[in-house]
Amino acid sequence: MPKTIMTVDDSASVRQMVAYTLREAGYDVVEACDGVDALAKIDSATYNLVITDLNMPRMDGITLIKELRIKPKIRFTPILMLTTESQSEKKMEGKSAGATGWIVKPFKPEQLVTVVKKVIG
């Protein structure tokens, strides 16, 4: 069974790009447009990985990560954050919220797949 990944991003094009790239790489992908949407959809499937943007309206990525880590089902699920912010503060903030790692935007599709493989194989 293919692994299922949720991608959370308010930019439809980035989200679709991520989804398309991952589907091409053989993953199942569920899209969510922000933190609130992601939380609403998180119970609908068993996810092997969550990839979330940080800057989003309604609920930002850091809050989403914190919310997800409370859920028993998601507790040990890897979460990657997409960030253009290269400052380590943001990364550390994400890490302490419970993120597994980060992908620095902009990235190329191959880079995304590489990082995802690193995390879930």
Partner: protein, 694 residues
């Protein structure tokens, strides 16, 4: 698929750029509004992030420095200035350029982009000395992966002791080890000596650690990259032990792994000594290397679709296709009704009525999908007004209302240029210079107001300014001078004002770069009429001018008046029709063969379609004159028979008939025959030209 993704990206970025502009202008009024600034940052952030992914590296690079500046602003380290807003507006235009000119850089002024980037860098460096480091950081991921590692082999001893809370961030350490394995050949030893007794064991914590020997062509940086996510809370050591290994020594990894695995108890020190022993004792005997099993991405096509979303993005072609199909349905439904009635079958009639009801709802919904709020167009004009008033040295404030009024997408698109032209005119000719305004007792700030509202099947758009107003005498003089009217022509105010839309008319005393571009207001009128709309002007000297555009809600289906000449049917746009009267042979005699009729004491000229269309058969004893209002003049069109209102689905006549004058399209009637839709404006214009040549 990639193409459509890229298309989606371009569309989205265009929207973001539009939003950026609106937000920028809003920030100018409220420079401390943190929500607006956050919005600006988000837009730039998204543009930068996505553009590189879709191959628009130039945009990504360009946006980077701007984003950096806005990050500072967002964090309160930098204040918004007019300079920054001006620069960002310029940058916005530049990005828009880059987006359109993908691939070819012909239209992109590199000097310009450079200047903008440098200005932003200056702004940033003024506040942040570490700016350079950040730039480097941002491209870190890319550069490290692009680095071609030398072909030289390195031998590393890696010790990886994960933090206890490793699992809590969802990390699987085996994945990291697998990743290392793919970088070359390795032997590995897992150690469990730190695992507590079962009673004390917390299954959520990680007690295991690893010692790894790796032969690879990768550099230390590459190895550290593997552990980048866990480096902060793990104990990691990398040691290059290449010099401990004899030259030309072929390592038998299988054998080495066996030796290591047999010493199950070994800890780090043991691991190291086993390696040392192996290298000193072993001679080159075997050659085979273990190739790390390469994982292959499973190729599967059965993707689960994303869960339901609240809105979806469809290309406008698909929408047009839908509207076309609905148009055909409307046509076929008319046929069905006709057949049902002529067969006089009650069951069938009731079914056909049901189909009619559903068809109309479907038609309304389909057309409704194409409706867009006009606000998106309005907001563009804020920028226009800002630029223009700067250029002309005037102070103008633009206000709008009714931005939520909806219009067909195609109408909105075609409305853009005429509106720009009218606003230009209002600012250039209407609104006075600040000194002049103060002199006549007005506030120095001029006002231009855009309003939209729906009235029946039409949308009214008003462009109101509080400027000098139209000077009737000047218009009259000018019109006589340009030969548009004669000295004796009597005109009411509405007629007089509408002269400003006549070709070749301009009352402006001096030609400015703004309105002296060689296109007059006649272009505006033609464009609006092309949309089956009309333009009206009212004005009061010294108080201001109101220009009202009346536009149909949609272009795909219009209300028409169905008429017949000989055996052919024609449709006239109902919106311009005022009434129908009869024309008998006697009436024609009374007028001495001149093409005029007398309606309630008013003389109205008419055009005989029979004559224009060269239909040579005899005219019926009593003809019908359809009176229409064109440019505020009444004109009659003579036909054989008038049937009445008809829901007309517009069809193009296609390439072969594209330039036929006086016919704007065709429609299909209930009985399947084709009826032509008349362009009565054009017909009138042509007739005027012919008659004026007599």
């Amino acid at each position: 698929m990639i193409d459509s993704l890229q298309q989606a990206f371009i569309e989205e970025t265009k929207e973001l750029l539009a939003e950026l502009e609106i937000t920028l202008l809003a920030v100018e009024d409220a420079p401390t509004d943190s929500e607006l600034i956050a919005k600006l940052f988000r837009a730039l952030h998204t543009i930068k992030g996505s553009s590189s992914m879709f191959g628009f590296d130039d945009i990504a690079l360009f946006t980077h420095d701007i984003e950096t500046a806005y990050d500072l602003i967002r964090n309160g380290k930098l204040g918004v200035t007019k300079h920054i807003i001006d620069l960002t507006l310029l940058a916005r235009d530049e990005i828009s350029n880059m987006l359109v000119n993908t691939g070819s850089h012909t239209n992109i002024n590199e000097e310009n982009t450079k200047k903008i980037i440098e200005s932003f860098r200056e702004i940033v460096s003024g506040y942040n000395k570490t700016e350079k480091k950040q730039t480097k950081d941002a491209v870190e991921l890319q550069s490290s992966s692009n680095n071609k590692s030398s072909e030289k082999h390195h031998h590393f001893h890696i010790r990886f002791i994960p933090g206890k809370d490793l699992f809590l961030t969802g990390t699987n350490p085996l994945m990291l080890i697998d990743e290392l394995r793919e970088m070359g050949s390795m032997v590995l030893s897992a150690h469990f000596d730190k695992t507590p007794d079962f009673i004390m064991l917390n299954p959520e914590e990680c007690y295991c650690y690893w010692n790894i020997f790796l032969k690879t062509t990768k550099t230390l940086d590459d190895l550290q990259d593997v552990f980048i996510f866990v480096a902060d809370n793990s104990e990691l050591t990398f040691e290059n032990i290449s010099n401990e290994i004899p030259k030309d020594f072929e390592i038998d990894f299988t054998k080495l792994q066996n030796i290591i695995s047999q010493n199950a108890q070994n800890n780090t020190n043991d691991f190291r000594s086993i390696l040392k022993e192996y290298f000193s004792v072993q001679k080159q005997e075997m050659q085979s290397e273990i190739n790390a099993p390469k994982k292959q991405a499973q190729a599967s096509n059965g993707h689960s679709e994303a869960d339901s979303v609240s809105s979806i993005r469809v290309s406008s072609e698909k929408l047009d296709e839908l509207v076309n199909l609905v148009g055909e349905l409307v046509t076929i439904q008319a046929t069905l009704s006709q057949v049902a009635i002529s067969n006089n079958n009650n069951d069938m009639i009731s079914i056909s009525e049901e189909v009619e009801r559903i068809t109309w709802s479907l038609r309304d919904s389909a057309l409704n999908i194409r409706m867009l709020p006009i606000g998106s167009t309005f907001s563009k004009f804020k920028r226009l007004v800002r630029d223009l008033s700067n250029e002309l040295g005037k102070e103008v404030e633009l206000s709008t209302d009714g931005a939520a009024t909806e219009l067909d997408k195609t109408v909105i698109e075609k409305l853009n240029d005429p509106l720009i032209h009218i606003i230009r005119n209002s600012i250039d000719h209407g609104v006075e210079a600040p000194e002049e305004r103060i002199r006549v007792g007005k506030s120095s700030m001029g006002k231009v107001h855009l309003s939209a509202s729906q009235s029946g099947g039409n949308v009214l758009i008003k462009i109101i300014d509080d400027g000098a107003g139209l000077n009737k005498e000047a218009i009259r003089e000018k019109a006589i001078k340009s030969g548009i009217i004669s000295e004796t022509t009597e005109m009411n105010d509405t007629e007089l004002y509408s002269l400003i839309f006549a070709p070749g008319f301009s009352t402006a005393k001096k030609v400015t770069s703004v309105s002296g571009r060689g296109v007059g207001m006649d272009v505006v009128r033609r464009a609006i009429e092309g949309l089956r709309g009309s333009v009206q002007v009212s004005s009061e000297l010294g108080k201001g001018t109101v220009i009202t555009l009346k536009l149909p809600l949609t272009l795909a289906i219009i209300d028409g008046l169905l008429v017949k000449i000989e055996s052919d049917h024609y449709v006239l746009p109902l919106s311009s029709i005022e009434e129908c009267i009869e024309l008998s042979e006697e009436d024609i005699k009374k007028a001495h063969g001149r093409h005029i009729v007398n309606i309630r004491g008013k003389i109205i000229p008419y055009i005989s379609l029979r004559e224009i269309f060269s239909i040579k058969t005899n005219r019926p004893k009593i003809e019908q004159v359809v009176i229409a209002k064109i440019n505020n003049h009444q004109v009659g069109f003579v036909v054989d028979q008038v049937f009445g209102q008809h829901q007309t689905v517009l069809k193009s006549l296609g390439k072969y008939y594209k330039n036929v004058e006086g016919i704007s399209g065709a429609t299909i009637l209930g009985d399947g025959t084709v009826a032509l839709i008349l362009d009565i404006n054009k017909l009138t214009e042509n007739e005027e030209i012919i008659e004026n040549n007599f």
